[in-house]
């Protein structure tokens, strides 16, 4: 017994160097962030060449790229919401994020415009309301044992319906909300101002704070470790003393709160609260899930990084913006669908093939990080 427990020690000491060698040997495909970064660079270089040759209908420069970030904020935030839910495992997925965006947007506009609450109070209440909607998903999924796909399909219908009925299918707008539009528009950064392109304010007020908090929660708190643990192996996590239900429920609450924040953002973006903001067309949930998967979140749970989400959303937003320059008008908007589909299919098939090749060669490695509770010592 003592022999078996002591033998892994030298192996562990050698890990950093072997990991670097492994990473170099495996090429770029293994790390999703590197793959995405490479794709973004390829896209930027290709577009710069096309722009230099005069084949684009508009100028492709940093100002244009920065201005498209206004669409980046909700996309990245909702994909982050999906990261929490999908990583929690047991078929975790949230189809209701778009409906929650619509409903919290309406509630926010009512509180801010019609009740006349101060902005900050209205935002906090809207986010709390989103968290409440997420908690309904969470209780049904984590405590009552509904499959997540069913829960969120049901609440997708329910929340969307409530948003449309409460608002009587009319957008809510008014002077206060029009003023609030400033929260989303492009600004010049103070201090370093003129040297950088104008970046939409929403990136700083909405995305970056949430991203920092999410990074901290996922990587530096016990909750984050618990989340990855229950997603990797629910039973093992339970035996390790983790309250799996509570942990899973909190993932849905987080997704709801982030959706609430996106609801507020869309009100700012459109200068009115549209009851179908998150559900018109094919909705916001499908792109969000697509970007999460593209960003390397494993649909089976337990694997997913913030960097993947941020880069995947950036790739899709800039790809869409580039397509509009090369293929103008309606056709361009349609070609964005094709691009999203092809990129998703390509990335998932490719990564699956590399995972399988690795599994065929090497013995499986523990997916639970060494710092997680219950990991082998």
């Amino acid at each position: 017994m003592t022999a078996t427990t002591t033998t892994p020690a030298p192996e562990r000491r050698a890990e950093p160097t072997s990991r670097v060698r492994e990473w170099l040997g495996s090429g770029i495909l293994r790390d999703r962030a590197v793959l995405l970064l490479a794709l973004i660079i390829v896209l930027l270089v290709a577009m710069s060449i096309l722009d230099a040759l005069g084949l684009t209908s508009g100028t492709f420069n940093s100002d244009y790229l920065a201005s498209t970030l206004i669409a980046y904020v909700p996309l990245a935030l909702l994909a982050l919401a999906e990261l929490f839910v999908i990583t929690s495992g047991r078929g975790g997925i949230d189809l209701s994020v778009g409906s929650m965006v619509s409903l919290t947007g309406i509630v926010f506009a009512m509180l801010y415009q019609q009740v006349g609450l101060p902005l900050l109070v209205a935002v906090v209440l809207a986010v709390a309301f989103g968290a409440l909607l997420g908690a309904i998903n969470g209780v049904l999924t984590a405590y009552l044992g509904y499959p997540a796909l069913i829960t969120t399909l049901a609440t997708f219908y329910a929340y969307r319906s409530i948003a449309l009925v409460v608002s009587e299918q009319r957008p809510i707008s008014g002077p206060e909300i029009s003023e609030f539009y400033n929260a989303a528009k492009a600004v010049e950064l103070p201090v370093i101002g003129g040297t950088l392109p104008l970046v939409p304010l929403g990136v700083f007020t909405f995305l970056i704070p949430v991203a920092i908090v999410a990074w901290f929660v996922l990587n530096r708190t016990t909750y984050g470790r618990k989340l990855y643990a229950i997603g990797t192996n629910d039973t093992a996590a339970q035996w390790a003393g983790i309250d799996t239900r509570r942990t899973r429920m909190m993932a849905y609450v987080t997704a709801g709160a982030i959706s609430g924040l996106v609801g507020v953002y869309t009100v700012a973006q459109f200068a009115s609260a549209r009851p179908d903001a998150g559900t018109s067309g094919s909705g916001m949930a499908l792109p969000a899930i697509t970007i999460a998967v593209l960003g390397g979140v494993a649909i089976t749970g337990g694997i997913g990084k913030l960097s993947g989400i941020l880069l995947a959303a950036l790739l899709i937003v800039w790809l869409n913006a580039s397509i509009l320059l090369v293929v103008p008008g309606n056709e361009g908007a349609q070609a964005q669908l094709l691009a999203l589909g092809i990129v998703l299919l390509g990335a998932s098939l490719l990564s699956n093939a590399t995972i399988r090749r690795r599994q065929a060669g090497a013995p499986p490695r523990l997916a639970v990080p060494a710092t997680a509770p219950g990991a082998p010592k």
């Binding site: 069913i150 399909l153 329910a158 319906s161 094709l338 998703l344 399988r356």
Partner: protein, 337 residues
């Protein structure tokens, strides 16, 4: 009790273990709920229980129930297909364009729609079975590609002046015999065939095995991948046929919103019908009842004079109730075992 079980012939016991009862608990519950709903709606809106109201309701149920048959197969194998709306769109717009331009007979148009749907479904199936990526990811991807394809054929406008070639499936008098809409009859026929297939055919039983445990099914000698391709192909083919019904029940103009949101309606009908989203369990009869229930709720809300959108709140609640009772019964079953 124990003596009675022991006295039963071993053959009978094993058959009972393999085949579920002909009508399962979920279907009885659904039937009771439907009857109660229809009676209540009949009391509060006198117009509800008339042929003039039930007929159109059944016509609207037909495409959902029809695709629901394929979706039940898919979900029994522990898969899912969210690209249904895209397949409907492509089949519908190509068929409508052909009808407008070439004046083909109905049978050719229907065959064309089915072949297009089957081809798109086969693409899903091949990518899922041989790419070994989770079906929801593959079909999210293909849904985007199919929608693009459909919009390209639409070419930024609507398809106008569709002839009434497909009136056989329509709402009008040509679309029903003795008060039964043809499209609904076809859906019921498809459900009957699928019911027999899932219950008695070897390849039908194989689908449950694949959904229960794909590895075990493979080790038991089931050709998992070809079966999966077939399942998605059939869903596509049925979506193609449903597209014909959707063209026939619409006006002579087809717009770009065709099929939109249908994938979730179909999945809702299937899960309300008692098919487990985790795979390995489910029935097409439940799916048919689920589709009727969803449409009854949506139409009923409109007829009561409530906001139309409120209907979908009830659809959501019904999904939770239906799956909730199923979860409770499943727990009781496991506790007994």
């Amino acid at each position: 009790m124990t003596t009675a079980t022991e006295a039963r012939a071993p053959q009978a016991v094993s058959m009972r273990r393999i085949l579920p009862p002909i009508v399962t608990g979920q279907e009885v519950v659904l039937l009771v709920v439907l009857v109660v709903l229809w009676v209540l709606l009949g009391i509060f809106t006198p117009a509800f229980l008339t042929p003039g109201s039930i007929g159109p309701l059944l016509v609207q149920v037909a495409p959902i129930a029809l695709i629901g048959v394929g979706m039940t197969f898919v979900i029994i194998t522990a898969g899912i297909d969210v690209s249904v709306a895209g397949m409907i769109m492509v089949s519908a717009v190509v068929t409508a364009r052909v009808l407008v331009s070439y004046d083909v007979p109905a049978i050719v148009a229907v065959a064309l729609a089915i072949v297009i749907g089957a081809a798109l479904g086969a693409l899903n199936g091949v990518l899922i079975a041989y790419g070994r990526v989770h079906p929801i990811i593959i079909t999210f991807g293909t849904a985007n590609v199919f929608t693009w394809l459909g919009l390209r054929v639409f070419n930024s406008s609507t398809v106008n002046g569709i002839p009434s070639t497909l009136e056989f499936f329509g709402r009008g008098s040509a679309g029903s015999t003795l008060g039964v809409p043809h499209s609904f009859a076809i859906a019921v026929l498809a459900v009957a065939v699928a019911w027999w297939f899932l219950r008695y055919a070897k390849s039908g039983r194989n689908l449950y095995a694949i959904g229960g445990n794909q590895n075990a099914a493979r080790l038991a000698g089931i050709k998992v991948q070809p079966r999966l391709v077939w399942v998605y192909l059939i869903t596509g083919a049925l979506a193609g046929l449903a597209a014909c019904m959707i063209i026939a029940t619409g006006t002579s103009t087809l717009d770009q919103s065709v099929g939109s949101g249908k994938e979730l309606q179909v999945i809702a009908a299937v899960v309300i019908g008692g098919t487990s989203i985790l795979g390995g369990r489910g029935s097409v009869v439940g799916t048919l009842l689920g589709a009727i229930l969803v449409q009854t709720v949506v139409s009923g809300v409109t007829q009561l004079g409530w906001p139309t959108q409120l209907g979908f709140l009830f659809v959501g609640i019904f999904i939770l109730i239906a799956v909730g009772t199923d979860i409770i019964r499943e727990r009781a079953r496991r506790a007994r075992a």
